[in-house]
């Protein structure tokens, strides 16, 4: 009985796959339809970031429990070039042709917790969590 589900992301089509998986996992954990949509949307954003910047990576879904609260953690990993200026990347409107767009700050607004671990040449790990209310 897995508490973790990992989805490899290496193509356009995998973005949809990651979304679908997100919806299924969130639904099974008891999130409302609305919360499930928010999670799936955030997953779509980070999965797309992986494709655009690193070509391949993975999205993992983990069930969480802490002090009686249950939640879902999504971890998007890639070994791409990493983000050189994280502060700017987290600003809205930083959407140059380079395409960092609204992916990160947008996803952060959709989730309860949001942590980015990245460095040039070290790849990127985005860890975002939503708690069942």
């Amino acid at each position: 009985m897995a508490v973790e589900v990992a989805v490899p992301v290496s193509s356009d089509a995998d973005i949809i796959g990651a979304r679908t998986q997100a919806r299924q996992v969130a639904s099974a954990l008891g999130f409302t339809h609305t919360a499930t949509t928010l999670i799936a949307t955030a997953v779509s954003e980070v999965a797309r970031n992986i494709i655009v910047h690193a070509q391949r990576g993975s999205v993992t879904f983990e069930r969480l429990e802490s002090n009686g609260r249950h939640g879902l953690r999504v971890i998007a990993r890639d070994s791409g070039p990493g983000i050189a200026d994280l502060a700017r990347a987290m600003e809205d409107g930083y959407s140059t042709a380079g395409g960092l767009g609204i992916g990160l700050p947008g996803s952060r607004r959709l989730m309860d917790e949001f942590v980015v671990d990245t460095a040039p040449g070290r790849g990127t790990v985005v860890s975002m969590t939503k708690w069942l209310s």
Binding site: I16, R19, T34, T41, E45, I102
Partner: protein, 119 residues
């Protein structure tokens, strides 16, 4: 997965059937631009009702569709955004500003029919 585009008088109706990949979305945008030019359409309705998620790429593409068709003389209306999707969009911070929206196809056609210059 190609999106079927129906010509109805001066209007084009694009009915999205299921989740679209990035490629499908680009193709939709290009097809609509071409057909608006070809048929000199006055109105375009994009029906997104089956979509249960719309991320930033999809939203940006819808905006692009509205802009490119406008450049060719057509007014675009997006219809069928689901309640939860609308909610996610405003949370995301992408609320399709500047793009007309309506509840459904019926409403959109009614609006297009009432525009000056409509057939």
């Amino acid at each position: 997965m190609s999106v079927p585009i129906l010509k109805q008088g001066p209007n084009l109706i694009a009915s999205i059937q299921s989740a679209l990949s990035d490629e499908d979305l680009i193709r939709l945008r290009d097809n609509l631009a071409a057909q608006v030019g070809q048929y000199r359409s006055k109105g375009v309705v994009v029906d997104v009702s089956p979509l249960d998620v719309m991320d930033s790429f999809a939203i940006r593409t819808l905006r692009d569709i509205a802009h490119t068709t406008k450049l060719r003389g057509a007014h675009t209306i997006v219809v069928g955004i689901q309640p939860e999707v609308a909610f996610a969009m405003v949370q995301l911070g992408l609320a399709l500003e500047g793009v007309a929206t309506a509840l459904d196809l019926e409403e959109a056609l009614s609006t297009l029919g009432a525009l000056p210059g409509a057939a």
